[in-house]
Amino acid sequence: MNEIKRRVFLKNGGLALASVGLIPALGPAFLGRAALAQGASKKKKTLICVFLRGAMDGLSAVTPHGDPNLYKLRQSIAVPRQSLLDLDGFFGMHPALAPLLPLYKSQKLAVIHACGSPAGTRSHFDAMDYMESGSPGSKSVRDGWLARATLLCPEDKKNAAHSPFRAVALGGGMPRILQGDAQALAIPDLKTFGIKGDRSGAMLESAMTMGGGASDGFETLYDKAVGDVLHGPAEESFEAMRMLRSIDPNRYVPNRDARYPNGRFGTSLMQIAQLIKADVGVEIAFADLGGWDTHANQIQGPDPSRGRLATLLGEMSQGLAALYSDLGDRREDCVILTMSEFGRTARQNGTGGTDHGTATCFFALGGGIRGGKVYGDWPGLTQEQLYEGRDLKLTTDFRAVFGEVAKKHLGVTNLEKLFPGFTGGEKSFRGLM
């Protein structure tokens, strides 16, 4: 059992001494631990997933301006052809995606269109659940597919002592996609991930630091709570905190060209880059950006390239471009993948927005991606071609995209285990990588 070995290492490696205050926090134990993590992370491949929650309007993000029906269905909300960033004469990016255009042109970024979940639900919550569990239509799969990918990843299998950072979610709680046996770590913000009084600069209250620090007391409490649901997360947290002491998120300076957007999403992506560059053994990273449920007033004023959707697309594209740039020489080892639970109605609704639909577009960016192309079969937008007469029809199952990246990037060969019930197999792959 990996788990036991790791604990044994920690106990024997000197952290027990640290916890009674005999050696400073950054003493030999930490160095040993960091060295271990380094060993485990050499040449590690990393998958970064970004969930766009609320159902991104794929027809606005990457607009099929060459489809004769588009502008009929979306009289006032479609971005006019001349304002789009044309990709191939048929599709054009929303102007707010400008930061991604150079990456598309340099063939690092691919678009997969008319992609989504075959489950056919228009409930956000069911659809997210299906996309995160990787089991559209079945609610009996209890863990997330990224958690399974972590466990199936061969790099992980051969390392007995895996890093607590091997699967991390930044920006909030533990997402469904990472729930399961992989002992993932959810960190709202690296800057506040530590016990008060434990960090240099915060050692003010003597009551909190004397006698070894409160953190050791807490650690012992949760260490003893075997069988409690809180035991596992607590154990992971304390271990991760020790490793984090050397990283100091407050002092992180991204690459010069990386301009992350303000806000939680930009911060999460920046901290993902920071963890990857610090070689703490990240295999899977996750962040999300909500607010895509644009039922009303998707655009603002008379110009369809402005408004709520444009702001979100701007935040997303600026974030992804910054992350890619910031990864520096690690970018060849990383793939960034976006997803959204479903798309939106092909037709605009009565309130200048769009209602819940079916297929949307996904983005894939990074090392090994054959970019500069829009993948997938275009289903068309005539009344008969629309799914149930209202939505962009799905032509690529999301599992074909996730599966291809998991296999070719992470080396996960067992697709049946990754996506229980998925019969598409490798022949469903689109050749993204």
């Binding site: 533990m174 991930f193 006698g211 649901v229 004023g301 402005r306 600026q318 609704n349 009565g350």
Partner: protein
Amino acid sequence: MFPLIPAPPAASASFQDDTPLTQDQRILHALGRLGFGARPGDLEKIKKIGLGAYIARQLQPDKIDDGSVERSVASLYGAQMSAEEIGQHERAVLMANVDAVQTRKKLEDAARESGIDTSGAMTPGQLLQKLPPEKRQALLGATQKGAQARQEAAAIGGGLVAEKFLRAVESERQLQEVLVDFWSNHFNIDMGKARSTKAIDERLAIRPHVLGKFRTLLGASAKSPAMLIYLDNFQSVAANTQPMFRRPGAKKMPRGINENYARELMELHTLGVDGGYTQKDVTEVARCLTGWSIDGNRYGGTFQFRNFAHDRGEKTVLGVKIPAGRGIEDGEQVLDMLARSPATIRSLSTKLCRRFVSDEPPASLVNKCAQTWEKTDGDLREVVRTIVTSDEFFAPQAYKKKLKSPFEFVVSSARALGATCRTPALQNYKLAIGQGAIRNTGNERTLSGQVSLMGQPLYAYSFPTGYPEDSRKWVSAGQLIARLNFSLTFVDGGLYDIDFSQGLQINSVTGGTPALVDFLSEKLIGGQLSPGTRATLLKQAEAIVKTPEASKLTTARRVAALVLGSPEFQRR
């Protein structure tokens, strides 16, 4: 919804046997479920009047005197504003937003003229900062006007957050507060979208009805301006209706229904996702609800049915024909049907039992609950009475089985320590929250900022599901660390909106470290600590005592923080 970690079902190692609860445990259990945990002296008080009498009293909150809390609440920002006044503030925000489009354009033009790169998601404030001084001055006023209007609305929202803490920590009507928390979360509204109108929703649509008929509560929510804004129904009109007024120069838009509210009404508020409705039902319900809107002159202040926007055609909802030619009755009939549907009764009985009893509530209890619901036509007082007086409620399998939500954890800590809210600080919540910052973690020295750090920013959950009632969802590493830090900050006096000046009151304790540990364990958690936890606390306390700077107080603080941060205190 699903276990997170390879773990036994919501099990805590220390509370797994089948021994019936002692009388003290039954009281502590009730205090943690009907309320936000025990305050010093609560146990004794209930012993005196009897647990049955306590529960009966909690079910009749109008008969409990709560005058001092009401007076404090009345002093909070916006608490005395009428719905119309709040609506007028929102109207000002709306107008400022319209102006903001113009201002933004002017800002961008000015930036371009000055050769500044405006790509990326910059706020007007950020753009303004980049401008050369002479241009900045000219546009400052226009930018500030919008900021002020939004700040006003945010302050009213801040007042609501303050009210929630004040009532949960101090009110004697604990069950009512728990139910307001439950139903306000059930009919979740994100203040990021509905802003200060949520305050009207909580005060007028939720609070008065939590112990009334479910149909009344549902109707109040359906007509709540905040809900109509949050789920877009206020804009939903019959196909091709033309608005009575259009802004000069505005494009002519095809108008029609918006399905958002209709869908969530069935999926989340009533039937449940597997409640047997179809996409066609969603569309038909949306048609029935066309014209359910708000008075635009007081944006979000009051409900208004717009006859001209109502779809008068015939509809079929869940197999029932809704005749053509009617008005608001269509929507009322839909609400009648949904409120009384067996799927609704089942779904909401389960959810209530999940909140009050356990994450996977016993079927026997859900059945009893549903029977009461049917018999009383959804009388929520009787439904709740059925739950909190049942054998299942007091079963050892339910004891300490729920993890506290961050809000429950923070409030129960304050109550355990006998602390009270600092009303003047709460009156300044507008400053702590400020413009547009409702969803941020906020000031970490406030209760609301702390709850945000633990993953539950109040009134700022963007999905209409609300926060999960399955308490296992609150297990994650980062959020746990935030809880431990809160414990340390609190006992250290580091929060400025809570009055902890009375301290831990350890003067009476004599007899060394074990006595101190036992005193604090008794005081804060009714002595309900596992032997392992007690041993750890003793060891920590002894380690501190040996250090030269140690005092009885510093030792006590550390022990108190460890109790609040212990696995046991995370449960109720």
